[in-house]
C-alpha cells in the first residue's frame, strides 16, 4: 500500500510520533514492574504517575480520579457495572438508542438480568430530547449513561443538562466521551459527570489503553479484581507502554485543541464538496457536532461498495462504526435517526484528524463523483 488518505479517525488514529518516542523507552530499557520493591520497578511507577497527571489535566480532573483501562469498551463496561453496584436497589437504567455496541450490548444483557432499560430516542438529526429523559427518569433509576458525541455522525449531546437531571433523581451519570477527548475541551471540575470513559486510540495513543474518570467520593466497584494496581480499582499488571503513550497523547491533545478550527475548515470543505454530488444528504446535526466528522448519505448505492471503491485510491473511510462492521446490518445509529432506506445503506463517515491535509481532501473530492456515478450506473434504483 502506497500513500494512505486516512479519513477514518473515529475508528482509530495514527499514533503520534512523539507518543511513539515516549513509549519506546518503556518497551526497552525500563521494563520493571511498577509494583516491584526495587528502584528499577519504581521508576516505571513514576512514569505511570506522570501519565496519570497528563490524562487528569486533559479532563480537568484530579490524578486520583483516573483509572487506566485496556480500552473504551472496558471503561464503559466497568462504569456501567459500577453504577449498578453502587445503588443495588435501583433497577431502572437509562441510555440512548445510538450508543456504541459496548454500551448497548451490556444494557441488553442487563435487561435479561432483571433490569428495566429505557433507550432514549434521537430525532432525524440525531439529537436527544431532554424532555424524554425527564419523562423517563424516576427515583429508582440507578444510572443515566449517554455518549458525549456520537461516533458515526459526530452529533454532540447536551450532557451537562442531562447530568443535572440525573442528579435531581440521585442517579449516577456516566458519559462515554471516547469520541470527545482531544476534540472538545473537557472540565470535570465543573461537570455533572460521575463516570466518564475515554480511549487512547481515538486520540493518537496506541490501541488497547484507555482511562475511566471516577469522581472522587463515588462508591466504585472494580470489574477486574486481584492485585492492588490502580489503588485497588483495576487489577492487572499495567499496560505501561500504552499508559505512558496515553499520557503523552493527552498532553499533545491539549495543545492541539487550539487548532481544531483548521481541522473543522477542512471537514467543511470536504462536506460541501461531497454534498455537491447529486442525491446526497448530510446525516446528523450540522451545528452541535464534532469538528472532525461528517456523515453523508449517497442515495441508491451501497456503503461497502463505496468503501471498497475508495480503498482503490487508498482512501480510508467507514460506514457505521468499525466495531459493528463485522455485522451486515445497516448502522443502528442511522436507523434510530429514522433515515429512509435509500440513505441508510449508502452512508459514509469521513473523520479527520490533525494529520489530515488539504491534498487528502482534494483527492476525495476528485474521485468521489466518479465512484458514485459508477455505482449508481450499476444500481437498479438509479433514479434517472
Amino acid at each position: 500500500m502506497s500513500a494512505v488518505i486516512y479519513l477514518d479517525n473515529n475508528a482509530t488514529t495514527q499514533v503520534d510520533p512523539e507518543v511513539v518516542a515516549a513509549i519506546l523507552p518503556y518497551l526497552t530499557q525500563y521494563y520493571g514492574n511498577p509494583s516491584s520493591m526495587h528502584s528499577f520497578g519504581g521508576q516505571v511507577g513514576k512514569a505511570l504517575k506522570q501519565a496519570r497527571n497528563q490524562v487528569a489535566s486533559l479532563l480537568g480532573a484530579e490524578e486520583s480520579e483516573i483509572i487506566f483501562t485496556s480500552c473504551g469498551t472496558e471503561g464503559n463496561n466497568t462504569a456501567i457495572r459500577a453504577a449498578i453496584a453502587a445503588q443495588p436497589d435501583r433497577k431502572h437504567l437509562i441510555t440512548t438508542q445510538v450508543e456504541h455496541a459496548c454500551v448497548l450490548n451490556l444494557f441488553k444483557q442487563l435487561e435479561k438480568q432483571g433490569y428495566t432499560v429505557t433507550y432514549l430516542s434521537v430525532n432525524r438529526k440525531g439529537q436527544l430530547d431532554l424532555m424524554e429523559l425527564e419523562a423517563a427518569i424516576t427515583g429508582s433509576t440507578a444510572l443515566v449513561s449517554t455518549m458525549y458525541a456520537n461516533n458515526e455522525t459526530g452529533t454532540v449531546f447536551p450532557v451537562e443538562q442531562a447530568g443535572a437531571i440525573a442528579k435531581e433523581y440521585g442517579a449516577t451519570f456516566h458519559v462515554d466521551a471516547v469520541q470527545v477527548a482531544g476534540k472538545l475541551p473537557l472540565n470535570m471540575k465543573t461537570s455533572t459527570i460521575d463516570l466518564m470513559t475515554i480511549s487512547g486510540h481515538k486520540l493518537h495513543a496506541p490501541k488497547g489503553v484507555g482511562a475511566l474518570f471516577v469522581r472522587r467520593g463515588f462508591r466504585f466497584r472494580p470489574l477486574l479484581v486481584g492485585g492492588h494496581q490502580e489503588r485497588g480499582r483495576r487489577a492487572g499488571t499495567e499496560n505501561v507502554a500504552g499508559i505512558v503513550g496515553l499520557g503523552k497523547a493527552a498532553e499533545l491533545a491539549q495543545l492541539h485543541l487550539a487548532d481544531v478550527a483548521t481541522e473543522k475548515k477542512l471537514r467543511d470543505r470536504l462536506e460541501k464538496g461531497l454534498l455537491a454530488i447529486s442525491d446526497t444528504e448530510l446525516n446528523g446535526d450540522r451545528k452541535n457536532r464534532l469538528p472532525n466528522t461528517t456523515n453523508i448519505g449517497f442515495k441508491y448505492i451501497e456503503g461497502e461498495a463505496i468503501l471498497l471503491s475508495l480503498d482503490q485510491y487508498g482512501i480510508c473511510a467507514s460506514s457505521g462504526s468499525a466495531c459493528t462492521s463485522g455485522s451486515l446490518e445497516p448502522s443502528h445509529v442511522l436507523r434510530a435517526m429514522g433515515l429512509p432506506y435509500t440513505i441508510l445503506h449508502g452512508s459514509i463517515r469521513f473523520s479527520l484528524s490533525r494529520n489530515t491535509t488539504e491534498s487528502d481532501i482534494d483527492l476525495v473530492l476528485e474521485v468521489m463523483p466518479g465512484i458514485v456515478e459508477r455505482l449508481r450506473a450499476l444500481s437498479p434504483f438509479n433514479n434517472d
Partner: protein, 159 residues
C-alpha cells in the same frame, strides 16, 4: 515500590546508633531498654537508653530493629531525636516527629514509626517503674500483622 525519602534510605543504608548499650556501672548513670513487637509480628524494636539520673536526661540511645526499611530508619531517627533531651521531653516525642525527621513516610508505612514511640514509652516507663497502661481499644482487628498493631491503635496514635 514505596516512595521513600532520601533521608529514609540514608538512615536505612547507614543507620546511626545501632546496637545495644553496655551497662557502664557508672555512678549517676542508668541503662535501660524498652521493647515492642516480636519476631512473629515481623517487626520488633529494642530501644536502649543511657540516662543521666540527676538531670533525668538521655545521654545516649541505641536501637536493635527487626523490620522493614522504614522500621529501621524510624528507629535510627528516634535515637537521633532523643539524644540529649530530658525524659519528660522524650515522652512528648510522637511518631509524627519521627516521620517528620525522615521527611515523611508513605501513608501505609506511617505505623512503622509508631513502634519507635512505643519502645521509647516502654523504656522510660520501665526506668520509672510505671506499669505500662493498656489501651483497651487496641484489641481491634489486626491490620499490620507484621507489627502486631491494631487498627484502633493506629487510629489513636496516627490520626
Amino acid at each position: 515500590m514505596w516512595d521513600y525519602t532520601e533521608k529514609v534510605l540514608d538512615l536505612f543504608y547507614n543507620p546511626k546508633n545501632q546496637g545495644a548499650i553496655e551497662d557502664p556501672s557508672e555512678a549517676g548513670v542508668a541503662v535501660v531498654f524498652g521493647e515492642v513487637g516480636s519476631i512473629a509480628c515481623g517487626d520488633a524494636l529494642r530501644l536502649h537508653l543511657k540516662i543521666e539520673v540527676e538531670a533525668d536526661r538521655i545521654l545516649d540511645a541505641r536501637f536493635q530493629t527487626f523490620g522493614c526499611t522504614s522500621a529501621i530508619a524510624s528507629s535510627s531517627a528516634l535515637t537521633e531525636i532523643i539524644k540529649g533531651i530530658t525524659l519528660d521531653e522524650a515522652l512528648n516525642v510522637s511518631n509524627r516527629d519521627i516521620a517528620n525527621y525522615l521527611g515523611g513516610l508513605p501513608e501505609e508505612k506511617m505505623h512503622c514509626s509508631v513502634m519507635g514511640q512505643e519502645a521509647l514509652e516502654a523504656a522510660i516507663y520501665k526506668y520509672r517503674g510505671i506499669e505500662v497502661e493498656h489501651h483497651e481499644e487496641d484489641d481491634g482487628a489486626l491490620i499490620c500483622s507484621c507489627f502486631g498493631v491494631s487498627e484502633n491503635r493506629i487510629r489513636r496514635v496516627v490520626i
